[in-house]
Structures are given as structure tokens and as C-alpha cells.
Symmetry: C2
Subunit: 342 residues, 2 copies
């Protein structure tokens, strides 16, 4: 198993992706290709006391870097020698089994779609993070790749999310819920009322375990394994969770910093606080899978540190060995609507 | 000032609405009309040691009760002698200045729209709760009354939300944000990209303080006073906040219950924990304003206790004395699109 890592992507590049990948190589026994400016990568290794490349780690030089100011849609074309373009071309040609990047989401999405291509029959790739919920996390699909979605996208998201929950998270017969504002099939916008019977039909045929509409509150509490949503609403869901978590964490911190006694209290629950922080921490999950692309691509959080990158590489390894792309490919015919239904 | 209270609405009726209204009468000096089954209301008073009606409190008998199983759209018509129908007819005819109910949201919305009527020119009434945010709360409009919205609804929500934040929450020049998945005007679905320039124009004319798109995370952190949204996304936002808050509160409780030492820690921060709980508690706000109706209507949470009802009555008093309905009525012409733009 060989994972290609974008050494130049993210707020903490090249330090975080390089050292995260090195740690993953050691811990998970995966081979690593670090793509980026060779001299900068070597400098990071050197400054961390690594004089020569560990076994199973190689460098693929790429002189350019995709920046925030680049147009996401064209960056990979305009910067042909960027770590993004070189890395994805390597993935496409079989030079590695998965690609991990903490760089621009938009650029990664466009480049993956146009260079590596979607699975045949899949209409759009989706961003599918695992969000922290009461049942140990749920796949949220889509969380922002496609703001506006016709029904067929959501039908495909439901299947892809279900395969991911089953194959990568190890949930047997994952419960699939349609994000909505009420339980009844009549709830929501015309998108949800159109998709509901499609998912019901897929469930009747035994293809997915669709459990009906899921309200945002129940989704957070952990009532489903897969949350199916258009990208706009999925993003609202994800960012509201993040915002609320941050807001409350700050309030709790304030509470503990008030006096000597409250600081003592913090000390007494320090083990629990650490666990709590870990549960809320996106770096534990690693990154967001791009589902629908014909090869495994993982988007790590832009602010990833080495630890988060290491976890993203672990996730890429699970993704690549899970057989999920084969499952999607083999079943894509049942995920397509008749032309008349479009 | 006379507030009409639905004595039969909500999970804890008649106890909670009756006693909450009585407390509000005492604390805020408002007159109260308790609408519902006279004998049940008297029984509640009696069992709370109140032998005769306090000054300024009267009972309006209504023999029927709108139940969960009733069709929300027709309940007020089918049960003409329900506390909902009698109370709203009283509001309409000037028998009171505002109406408070903890009963079915759907039934209250339909009945308010069809009995009390919308403000002329307002296309839809919206549910506008004050959600807890880093800046002491923001008006979220709409949070579920209208799942699917054409652009004009959102334009009107922006104005109504702004007036509410200014007149009822006391925010001068309230910052109005369009709930979206990115800052750029091109972000979101066709709804947001269409509404953005309309709000921009309203801001240029000095009518509202539109500050652009607001992402869910920043909205929670408190970057705006008014969050403008279609009812579907607004509901996802609200319920995700609630769910995340509950989820984290449970985890924190677990953390404090682990051992003797962590229980001691809980004792040391008990003051802070109480404050924290208060901040998260929807009963502090009281209820959700129905904006766009020609008279003040407040929907209290279904699970309201007497304290929450008391606060809802306080909120109804503020609403009724704020002049917001006059502001909407006076400015409704600038909130309407030309027919050709529809």
C-alpha cells in the first residue's frame, strides 16, 4: 500500500504533512510518496533530525504550489507542476493507492474530478466527513461540494455513504437517514419529498438500510450512520456543529479559569477534559473522503498538524483497502434514474 | 397591556401556562386573559393556593383543546371553541394586545395567518426565535414555517428580523447576515445568489445593515444580530445547535459523575455550571415570535414550564410595545418585488 501525500498543502505545510506522513509510515507500515518541493521536504526532515529517507518513503519533486488565491477550478491546469497536479496524476497512473492533501478543497475537488475522473455513472463527487455524534460518528454526505442538488445526486450520496459506513467505518447494515425538518415523508423541500420514495424503494430492494428522515438534532445524538444531504444544508449542519462545539468549549474554559477553586476543579477532571477534547477534535478522524472519484482521495483539514495528517493517511489506507470503489462501480446501475425521471 | 395566554397549549398545560401567566402578571404588571377550560384553570389556581383571581387576571372559557393528532391546517376551524381559536379571535378583535401559546406550532401558524391575518404585503409569516450565540443571541428567521422559499420571502425576512432585533432586542443598526456556505456573493444555491444583491441594495438605500453572507460557524460565534434563512436550512441550523448543546452537556455531565474527585470538581464549578445551563436554556428566552402577522403572537416551547411561560409573556409584552408591527407595515412597500421580478 502506497499513499501519496501532498507535502505542500495546508496551513502548516510542509512541516505537518511531511512529519505526519513519516509517522504514518512508521506506525501503519504504509509506503509514502511525498509530493512537493524536494529541497523544502528535505529541510523539514533534517530539522527533525532525520538525515536520510526512511525505508518506504520517497520524494516526488513538484516545483509549484497551489495557493489560496488561485482559482480552484483551474489551479491544477495553470500550475501543471504543482504538488496537487503531480500527485493526482501519479494516483491516476497507478503510482500510488490513495492521495491525501490538506490544500484547497475546491482545487482538490476540481482536480480529482477532471484528472482522476469520477466513477462511471456517478454524477458528482461528494465530500463525506465523519462527524462526531452520539453513536461514535456518522458519515455526512454531501457537506459542501454541491450546493444545489437534483434528486439523483442525493440517491447516489445515500449509496456511497452507506458503502463508506459499512466498508470503512465497519458498520454492518448502516442506518441511512435523509436530513430533514420532520419525520413524515411530506416534510422538507421538494428535493427531500422527491428523494424520500427513491430511498424507500432502494431499501425495499434490500440495497440500503434507509430509516427515513432524520432531524438535525437526532442526527447529532447518533440515530443514524449516514446523513444524506445536499451540499448547502450539509455544510450548514457541519459548520453549526463546529461553531456550537467551539462556543461551548470556550464557555467551559472560562468557567474553569474563574478562580483558584475552579482551576483546582479543572485539575480534578483533567482526564475527562482531555477525552472530551479528543472527541471534539477533527484531527482524530483525519480527513474527509471524496466519494465518487475513481481512486481514493482524502481531504485533510487545512489546519491539520502532523497528528491529523497521520490519521488522514491511516484513513486513506482504510479507504484504499476497503473495496468501496469496487462496490460503487459494481452497483452504479441501481443508483441511476431513468432519463425520463430526470 | 393585556396578554392573552393559551391555558391549554403545551406538554405541561394547564399547570405551566396558568402559573407562568400568574407570575408574569405579578412580576411585569401585565393584565392576563387565561383562555381555556374554566374549571381546569380554577383547579390549577386552587391547587397552588390561589383562592380568587388576582387583580388583572381574567378567564375566557373555551371548551375544546387542539391536540397533537389534529390536522394543524384545520384544527382552528374544526375546533371553533378551542383555546387557540377563541384566543386568536380575541386578539383579532382587540380583546388583548398579544397572544402566547405553547401548543402546536403548525396549528398556531395556520390559525394566526387565517384568523388574525398577515400584515398587508407580507407574503409569509416566519418563525423567528432568538438563538444563543456569542454576542448574546441572534434572531434566526425563518426556522421552519416555510421549508421552501422564493427570494422575496427572504428579503422580507431580512427586514422583519432587523426590525425585531432593533425594537425588541434593543440592538441599534442590527447586523443582518444571509446564512450561507461561504463569504463570496457567488456562494450557495440560486436562492442565496439571487437574494444577496437584493439585500445589498436594501443596505445601499440605508434600510438595513446587511453585512453579507454569514457561515453557520460565524453565526454561532455571534458575528451578526439577524440570521436570514429559508425555513429548511434555518431549522437544520437551530436543531443542530440544540442537538450539539445537548450532546455536549451530556458528555460534560458524564465527566463530572465519574468519581468522588470529579464530583468534588462539579461542586467547585457549580456556579459556573448553573450559568452555563442558563445560557443554553431556551426557557430563558421564552418563545419564538411569529413575524409577519398583524398582531403579536408568541410560540412558547412545547415543553415550557411556568418559568418559560412567564418569560414568553414578558417577550410578548416587549413585542406588543415595540412598535415593530407598525415599522413593518409602514415599510412594506420596499420589501416587495416588482411583479416582473417574481
Amino acid at each position: 500500500m502506497k499513499i501519496i501525500v501532498d507535502a505542500m498543502g495546508g496551513d502548516n505545510a510542509p512541516q505537518a504533512p511531511v512529519m505526519g506522513a513519516i509517522q504514518a509510515n512508521k506506525e501503519y507500515g504504509v509506503d509514502i510518496v511525498l509530493v512537493g518541493r524536494g529541497e523544502e521536504i528535505l529541510k523539514v526532515l533534517e530539522s527533525n533530525g532525520i538525515q536520510e529517507l526512511p525505508a518506504g518513503v520517497e520524494i516526488a519533486h513538484a516545483s509549484e504550489v497551489v495557493e489560496i488565491c488561485d482559482n480552484p477550478a483551474n489551479a491544477f491546469r495553470e500550475k501543471k507542476d504543482s504538488s496537487l497536479t503531480v500527485g493526482l496524476n501519479m494516483l491516476k497512473s497507478g503510482g500510488g493507492d490513495a492521495f491525501v492533501s490538506a490544500g484547497s478543497t475546491g482545487a482538490l475537488l476540481s482536480a480529482s474530478t477532471l484528472l482522476v475522473k469520477r466513477i462511471k455513472g456517478i454524477r458528482r463527487a461528494a465530500l463525506a466527513p465523519v462527524v462526531p455524534t452520539g453513536n461514535g460518528g456518522a458519515v455526512l454526505i454531501d457537506c459542501g461540494a454541491n450546493a444545489e442538488c437534483p434528486p439523483e445526486y442525493l440517491l447516489q450520496f445515500a449509496y456511497m455513504g452507506s458503502y463508506y459506513a459499512e466498508h470503512v467505518l465497519g458498520r454492518p447494515e448502516p442506518k441511512v437517514g435523509l436530513l430533514n425538518i420532520g419525520a413524515e415523508p411530506s416534510k422538507g423541500t421538494s428535493l427531500q419529498t422527491t428523494v424520500y420514495p427513491m430511498l424507500q424503494e432502494a431499501a425495499k430492494a434490500g440495497r440500503i438500510n434507509f430509516v427515513g428522515n432524520v432531524e438535525a438534532r437526532e442526527a447529532v445524538e447518533g440515530s443514524v450512520d449516514v446523513i444524506v444531504s445536499d451540499g448547502y444544508s450539509g455544510n450548514i449542519f457541519l459548520k453549526t456543529m463546529e461553531g456550537t462545539g467551539l462556543f461551548l468549549a470556550r464557555e467551559i474554559k472560562k468557567m474553569f479559569m474563574k478562580s483558584m477553586l475552579t482551576k483546582l476543579a479543572a485539575l480534578l477532571v483533567s482526564g475527562g477534559l482531555k477525552q472530551f477534547k479528543k472527541m471534539m477534535d477533527s484531527s482524530e478522524v483525519g480527513g474527509t473522503a471524496l466519494l465518487g472519484i475513481s481512486k481514493p482521495v482524502i481531504k485533510a483539514h487545512g489546519s491539520s498538524d502532523a497528528y491529523a495528517i497521520k490519521n488522514a493517511v491511516r484513513q486513506a489506507k482504510q479507504f484504499a483497502s476497503s473495496g468501496i470503489i469496487e462496490s460503487i462501480t459494481d452497483n452504479v446501475d441501481v443508483m441511476r434514474l431513468e432519463v425520463t425521471q430526470l
